[in-house]
Subunit: 233 residues, 2 copies
């Protein structure tokens, strides 16, 4: 399998084409709620806004559909996805399964060097977290970085593609729009550490189990916020 199979998304490569650029901008806009959930996507409007023609814009829309940030109907158009409890549950069911698998594979496939680099990464995150206690953004970035590395460590290109290119933007959207809060931020570090420890011991089964629990806990956290939000409406 050629290496470029892993570089389909412009997040992992330089944004060489206009379509890539626009994709990144719209992804950010949707994830951060700049384009609100449920809102209509007008192609002529967006094309003007990002100074491109409709051709690269439509290419970008196709990729946005691929990562579940918009939904399209032929001859009708696209809308930004709405966040829901059902959607969250479905998404995290998959995450538990797939990232569990990623852990098992990573425990077999990652090199000692890669594992050492991850340990260094965790140490770095720990120190910055102590300094900026409560600032969720850094925790957010650090958490995603941790998960990314394990997924890449699985060395399974299809698994990497699904998690990194197709599901993670939606995961980020839930987390950014519903906010990460409370004691989970500090507890997540310990869970990361335990998972990495299991991988370092080449104990794939344990890493799998711990990752599933880690993701399940994260889901419950978001689910609570989401249900509160829905009640407020």
């Amino acid at each position: 399998m050629p290496a470029y199979a892993l570089t389909q998304s412009p997040t992992l490569k330089a944004a060489v084409t206009a379509s890539d650029r626009v994709l990144l901008e719209i992804q950010r806009a949707i994830v951060e709620g700049d384009l609100p959930p449920g809102s209509k996507i007008s192609e002529p409007d967006l094309a003007r806004r990002f100074h491109v023609s409709r051709a690269p814009l439509r290419e970008a829309l196709a990729r946005l559909e691929r990562c579940h940030l918009i939904e399209r109907l032929p001859n009708v158009g696209a809308r930004v996805v709405k966040l829901s409890v059902d959607g969250l549950v479905s998404l995290y069911q998959l995450r538990e399964e797939l990232e569990g698998l990623a852990c098992r594979l990573a425990a077999e496939q990652m090199s000692d060097e890669e594992i050492e680099q991850m340990q260094a990464l965790l140490d770095k995150h720990l120190s910055t977290q102590r300094v900026r206690d409560g600032e969720s953004y850094y925790q957010e970035a650090g958490d995603l970085d941790f998960h990314y590395r394990i997924i890449l460590g699985s060395k399974n290109p299809y698994l990497i593609n699904i998690l990194c290119d197709e599901l993670y933007f939606l995961v980020r959207m839930y987390r950014v729009q519903l906010g990460m809060n409370g004691p989970r931020v500090s507890r997540a570090f310990d869970e990361h550490k335990a998972i990495l420890h299991a991988i370092a011991n080449r104990d794939g089964e344990l890493a799998d189990l711990l990752m599933r629990r880690h993701i399940s806990a994260s889901r419950h956290n978001i689910e609570l916020t989401l249900k509160n939000n829905e009640e407020q409406i």
Copy 2:
């Protein structure tokens, strides 16, 4: 989650647009080896061949990339994927995990009526198989139909999307190009029956286990053929 989230692929809906039509034709051509693995995809060439302009063709190519039938490089172009043992292993690792999950969810989510319909489907397949013993195509279609129904029964839209829209064309490509052969054809029926029985008993764990074994056996079957093929070259 709206219903049309499940109808992104033209396989499950009417091919209303030119892009849909071309997509279906090229999918078939690649899966059946009409466009051979590794061959270059020339946009002007294909556009002439299918009597459309490059705009809908490129839309179709984007979706072909999504289901891993072609690989693209910016400013370079697209090639039909090559089949390999590594690719097969990666693909079936995912299938085991995801279809196992689908079984667990289907055991919870499927209605009694849906389960009865599946039993009727199996009976029908059994009778046609007895008649046309050895004809792999019908078995092929029947097997896919069985897996499709379980996946749909999971009621998880993301899972359905990944398996039915993104991975199954590649699975079909391996099976069609490497051929299904030997005693597996008849044994697969028994395995299907056992899986469905577990689902009917609402025993998700057992269905999960049986499905993983079923897929694993299928993989070993194809792997053998693939390795023989590579040795011949």
